[in-house]
Amino acid sequence: MHATRWGIIASGQGANRIAFLYYAKYRNPSIADRVLLLNTTPADVKPEAPLEQIFASEPELREEYEKIKRERVCIFGRAPSGAGNNWVLGEREAIADYDNIRRYIANLRLRRSDVLLGIATLGGGTGNGSLPYIIHRVRKNPGAGIERINNFLALGILPYDFEAPQRHFNTICGLARLLRYNGEQNAALVILVDNSQVERVLGIRRGQREERYQRINQEIIKTIHMLIAPSSYTSRATIDIADYYQLPSNLGMIHFTPCLSMGNDPDVLSLDAILESASNNAMAPLDKATATMAYIVVLAPEEKVAKGEITQEDLEDLSREWAARHLAGEGILRYTSLVASPESESVDAMILLGGFSLRRIMEKSLEKYYDFKDSLSDSSDANSRIELERVEKLEKQLKEYIALTEEKIARLKGKRRQMKTELKRWGFS
């Protein structure tokens, strides 16, 4: 059995920080050096500027950066001041300079069966603007030197609740474009992580704001690690990457959010308690009773797995019971994977909840979205202009997606079928 090969394309400052930290710290053989950092930094600023914050606390990582910067850091576009929080500009720069980006992607030497994870913060301009376009191009028409890669997942990071209206406006436009682009499904899967929600889960208080970014990034890095873990050699029931997106695509719901419970002591917490704990730590605001899909990944010490103290079968049973307790109508899709980790002494669990109601996410951004949208004017520079017509189109697209999701949730939560009647309809007396 071969482990699935992964690659990461991170666009924008925030995403650059996350992807670089993941690359430097985890050294995951499934990723190797297939990490690409994209940015539209102005010409007079060093490309490593977004990472200076990391180097300040961990100087040894600068050396790692130096090793990869020539082939793995791509500065694209010609705007003198970056995308400036304007996703339209970020997208236009990516379109205009795609040939440059393409060369860097080709340099990752990806194969058709490989998986790409695109990362962007949805409140910004560069990543939010460029990533949906890049996903669209790579999946449909990647250009010379790159094979078409369908397995292109997206990790979108939602802004803090308190952030300015334009960032929430960007978020809704970005989310719509990650889900659908030019009228077609775009990313194979969209994983959402909300900064404020992660902060709440971690219990970060006001006085700790200095380290907030670092801690939130750490959580996102853990998510990436858990996402990739089932593809590894030590997985007891490998979730093939196709499982991550084939069926959700068929169901028309491709949004997910991770729920993490890390560093659990297997001598104290039962697997059941660990799953419960994870499900209370959703990384985006949601009503988990509306979730319709769940991928459960548990990373356990190899020794415990080898001794049979933690088994795939037990995990399957517990997952079933857990889904019955928490998912809408027990859910329509569920995968479970136990991964034996030789390095770990604790049990880490991730539940990737999917197909849930986007209501709480929309609630936090919608008002600010309208505040910004209603103030848009047609008098700005043509190159950076956000066209109202396009925004309306994206809004319509997102509404359709939400309506479909809500309908499926309602159907699942609604009355169960009368099996006696159903069996009669199938010809059983």
């Binding site: 002591d265 059941d272 419960e276 209370n280």
Partner: protein, 455 residues
Amino acid sequence: MNEYVITAFVVLATLGAGLFLLLTFGISFVSYIAVGVILSVLFASLVYTWWKSKTDKTVVLLKIEILNKIKSSLSKLEENIKEASEFIDIEPFMRDLKRIRNELISKGFFTKDFEVNERKIEKITLTAIELESRKVEQQLRSLESLATASYIEAAAKRLGELLSAARTLLESGFSVKEEYEELRRIVNMPSASLAELLEKRRRGEEEYLRIVDKCISEAEFLLDTAENIADVAHLRKELEKVKKSRHDVEVVHRLVRVRSEASSYLTKPFLQAKKEIVGYLDKVLSFSVGFEREEQAIRELRDRALGYADPGYLAEFAAVKEEAKRLTLELARALAKEIVALEEELKELGMRKIRRRGVERHVSKLDPRKEFAEFTKEAIEVLRTLAGEYSTRYKTVKIAKNYPAIEKIISQKLAEKGRVSAEELKVRYAREFLRHYSEAHPEVKFEKNALILKG
């Protein structure tokens, strides 16, 4: 011969050249050249003579070396054949060797005392000596082959007997497994030449003697122990006979009889000793949970003790007891080390109430020089104390380290349902976590008997 021809040629050439020069340039010029030529020839002659004598010496040395080699091969084969005399008739071989020796003397290679005849070999060419050497080597090789063929069967028979006798001793219960395996390895060693066969036989005999000696010691131990229970004088006499004929494979039956009869008197003490050791190791095992390496070693020792099936193994128990003491000490040290590490963790967790009690003093109470019974009595007490302290601290650390995560789970459950029971929590030490939570959150009510938190 060649030297004379060359000299004559040079003289004639010189006279010819002189005559030619005399006719062409006249007497005065030629006399200078003649003196020069004479001096050059004299010098060349000196150089040639020196070189020639040196070469001659090297050739003589070479001849001596070849002849010494012949002498050494002859002597070695003679020695080997004499050593093999136990199993083969060496007379014809010795006769042939003598013939070869006499021939070499008669040809002038050696003196009557069979020393290299340096004076005579000067006249014999190197090629002739080399030819003689090859001839002798061939003769020796065929003699050795004949001797090997005669010896091999007898040697194999003897080694087979030794191995079979050793197996009998092993199977009768003597602790000679390692030695038996070594003997088997020696017997199976490849051996093509007579020298190799002799070496194999020598080593086989030595190893067999080692086995018999070890068995004698074991039998003596059994007789010493059995002497207090029964009259074993006749068995001692048997053992004396064995000591006198250690090489004889027949003595193994006497040894087996001594062991068997002595063992029959020792059934009761054997069973008692076995029960004592296995019982003790069972107790030690109960304190080793969580210490895999130590647990494994103790379990193996217990299995070893259980594997001794008859009283003849009584002697082995002394070693088992010593090993049991050593493993006890190892476990006690491991427990103490873990207790210290857990105390450090508790300190880091800010739990100052837990004070270090100097666990090392418990370990130092254990003195392996004491008698087994006394040692085990103290050891059980020490292990019980250490295991108790370890268990308490382990639990405290686990609770302290996991409380933040469990606290969150409890809070979430209380927020959802207003109550949480130990059963719902699905964690180890649920009672302690609930109690701890109620202490940290006075607003909630802890029903101790039902193990339910409400709030």
